[in-house]
Amino acid sequence: MSIPWPPTHDDFFLDPDPHRPFGQGDIFRDVPYTKVQANPVGKKPLIDISTRTVALLNYPCEAYETGALLPMQTVAVLRTAADANVTQDWFQRSKPPGALHACPLPELYRTSDLHVVDWRTANLIDTTHLRIVDRVASLTEFGLAFFRQRLAAYFTRARFPITDLLTSGHEQWMEIELWREWNARGGTDFQRWLSTFDPNLGSVPRDLLRDDSFNTLAERMRAATPTA
């Protein structure tokens, strides 16, 4: 995969799709976000609830359990680059890395305005506050690898090559793509189908993801779903 630098909106983001499952890096607007700030001793904490745009941090295995969203998710707040003190040159990848507290988002709203995910704001929210209709964007496969590279750098101060993150995330990516098409074709309970032994395959369909037999798996999926 070769992405010209800096990436454009379309290199990084997918338009919102109601059939697409929740994925790491999904951007949601109008999400209630809580701050609980300590008050002087003996007084109740200062609680502030405001509506923010956030990015989902959970890896799918922590966002879902057997296909059902878990009741709580971890998110981080989107801020303007100026508010988060991130300047334009964070996109110059070949330079020493900087602004490790944030992930830059290229042209999120298809304007020249700069936005970032500020990792320092990571917080727990009720999943019901992440509504599909409020999803602004999902990430491309490259965008997901970059997002995870920045997330790892913030928490570990280690940089993983983008190629490793593309490799390690490919199976997840293909699964989400199939799940999306399954939903669009009117299918239900994709995860159960993926994990149920198929005598014609001699394995569970999920094994074809691992074997990189994606086209075969896609054919099986389409045969198992009504035409949308």
Binding site: W90, A99, P161, D164
Partner: protein, 101 residues
């Protein structure tokens, strides 16, 4: 730079460069036109290895290599030794976050 022009520069060898004795083996000096053709800028990191008598420089960000371990939700990707590198000092002046964010 037009692609054909960049490709022409890549195919045409530069004039010869000379190995010098230097106790600091942490830097690489290349002709600027060559660097420009591959998108290398000051600070771009490369690893270096020998292939026979050739010396090969590869951008750090293009390298990968690892393997999967485990099953199900505990399945992880183990990065090959040396491929995860320290990020180093954050050169962006950091403004601490406060409760007004």
């Amino acid at each position: 730079m037009p692609e054909s022009q960049a490709a022409a520069i890549l195919e045409r060898p530069t004039s010869s460069v000379r190995v010098t004795k230097n106790g600091n083996a942490k830097t690489l000096t290349v002709p600027s036109r060559l660097a420009e053709s591959v998108g290398a800028e000051v600070g771009t990191e490369y690893t270096v290895r020998a292939e026979g008598r050739r010396i090969v420089y590869e951008p750090l960000d293009m390298q990968g290599g690892g393997h999967f371990e485990g099953e199900g939700p505990d399945r992880i990707y183990v990065v090959a030794a040396g491929h995860a590198v320290p990020v180093g000092r954050d050169e962006t002046p950091l403004k601490p976050i406060d409760w007004d964010f």
